[in-house]
Assembly symmetry: C2
Homo-oligomer: 304 residues x 2
């Protein structure tokens, strides 16, 4: 049986995920909680960590590798940014050590694009990338959908450029805090096979400048044509995802291969949206990617 080698943590804004990893790479224990940066900034990062280490019976003094918002300015210890272009292999050695801790705890840095006309930042996704790019050669676009979707241009193991789209956050803000909230109030779950979703993706890609008009069309369509609430919600999602895809594909040479790093329903939705755009992505599970990235970092920092 494997012996505990290190602890890997993905510490986001509102989520905390921990894996106890064995010396053969196997997962010996796992924890998921809502104690993200926002909570931990109040209750204390060290005590949140300690409670989860105890819950998985981690031997004391085990090294801990952390990615995500724990390294933000408002987080535990600020881990700064690596400026792009940068090789992903430079990430582990730029990790910041948590001072005065009872174990060797390292927090990985984010990435920054300092281009004055297109400033951008990521924190957490760089570790997914580190785990996902193994085997990617040449130039590729990596799509990492979510609250703040990232589209990353990777060339031979280096990040050359990336852009964030506020898709997920806009979906929630518009769905909850505009007139469209009435149109989607009674919506059921939908997926990428929904025809209204696919049509909306197509519409937004064809005419991205009409995006906020297409959004109002969700309401007009309900008033004039009785669009069902579920289709209205699917359409809201499709407009925003289509707009994102239009922008991301615009920025890359036609035919650039796309890797989609995502999980579950959101991943399936993006696969469908990309399909309407004629793109067939390589799909990598996001959870697997972040664990693989943390493993690469751990192996680099603690080669023993």
């Amino acid at each position: 049986m494997a012996r505990p080698a290190y602890v890997a943590i993905d510490w986001g804004t509102t989520s905390f995920r921990l894996w106890l990893v064995g010396d053969d790479g196997s997962v010996l224990g796992e924890r998921r909680s809502g104690e993200g940066m926002t909570t931990a900034a109040t209750t204390g990062f060290a005590s949140v960590l300690a409670s989860h280490l105890e819950a998985v019976s981690a031997p004391s003094g085990l090294p801990v590798i952390v990615c995500g918002m724990a390294g933000a300015k408002q987080g535990w210890v600020e881990a700064g940014y690596l400026d792009v272009p940068s090789p992903l292999s430079a990430i582990p050695s730029a990790a910041v050590k948590v001072p005065d801790a009872t174990a060797d705890i390292r927090i990985l840095p984010g990435l920054a694009r300092r281009d004055a006309a297109h400033p951008d930042v990521m924190r957490g996704e760089e570790t997914q990338l580190l785990g996902a790019v193994d085997g990617l050669t040449g130039k590729a676009l990596v799509c990492m959908p979510g609250t703040h979707s990232k589209w990353v241009e990777v060339a031979d193991g280096s990040v050359t450029r990336f852009s964030t789209y506020m898709t997920g956050e806009l979906f929630h803000a518009i769905g909850r805090h505009t007139i469209l909230s009435h149109s989607i109030a009674d919506a059921q779950a939908f997926d990428g096979t929904n025809a209204a979703f696919r049509q909306a993706v197509t519409d937004a890609i064809r005419n991205p400048a009409l995006a906020t008009n297409l959004l109002f069309g969700v309401r007009s369509g309900m008033l004039l044509h009785g669009i069902a609430a579920t289709d209205a919600k699917a359409r809201l999602s499709g407009i925003l995802i289509g707009l994102e895809i239009a922008g991301a594909l615009d920025e890359a040479p036609p035919g650039t291969p796309v890797t989609l790093v995502a999980s579950g329903a959101l991943g399936a939705l993006y696969e469908s949206a990309l399909d309407t755009a004629g793109v067939e992505p390589v799909v990598i599970d996001a959870d697997t990617a972040v664990r693989a990235g943390l493993a690469v970092a751990a192996r680099t920092i603690w080669p023993g």
Copy 2:
């Protein structure tokens, strides 16, 4: 001295404006309040109207002409829609009479674009148009900025097509309910001379597909380049207005003359934004336009 001839009302979602108009067209009394449709649907439209009529000492039985959300399904009496294309002169005769009222009260209809791929509605703006198009010949684009900005194609007194952009509502929803709320929390007032506003308009027009990436750039720009809160807010506004202008100008033949129906600070902001797009609009005051439109309707319905 002029004698009271009729009462004109612009009854919006959240605002109520009433003018007591004399037989020579002069304004004999005016009321403004927050008792829009939302409030009046609870307190009663008839009693809200009665209290304001009393406040301007309107003679009892004076005819009343109303435009706006009072004619919506959730309003006082549903006044339906005229389908476009439609001559604006058809609006007055499509007014709906409030039943069982102590006076002749008419509510003007909205306009609907039933095009299945681009459904759209307006209610209230058609009356501004009726007042604004006097003297417009040939084809023109009329821009009516606001919570739901309207861009209307008018040809020889007829509305041929129109599109709504959710610009104003998105500005508030994004500014209050996304991560950008932190970036703009300390913003001061800004106007169309703000360089960040004008740059954002230019950026969005140049690359509308990047709209939600430009939005995230407001935050990244603050993190990486220390953009001031006021410039961040100006940039948020400029991205959304620029996106709207990009879409609206895309839909019309190049060089189509633009009429801007707007008032105050918002009008000045749109004048500046249109200027960055190389468009010099004819400007008509929105308050004047709605009163003129209600006057045209009153003269048509009650020619005596």
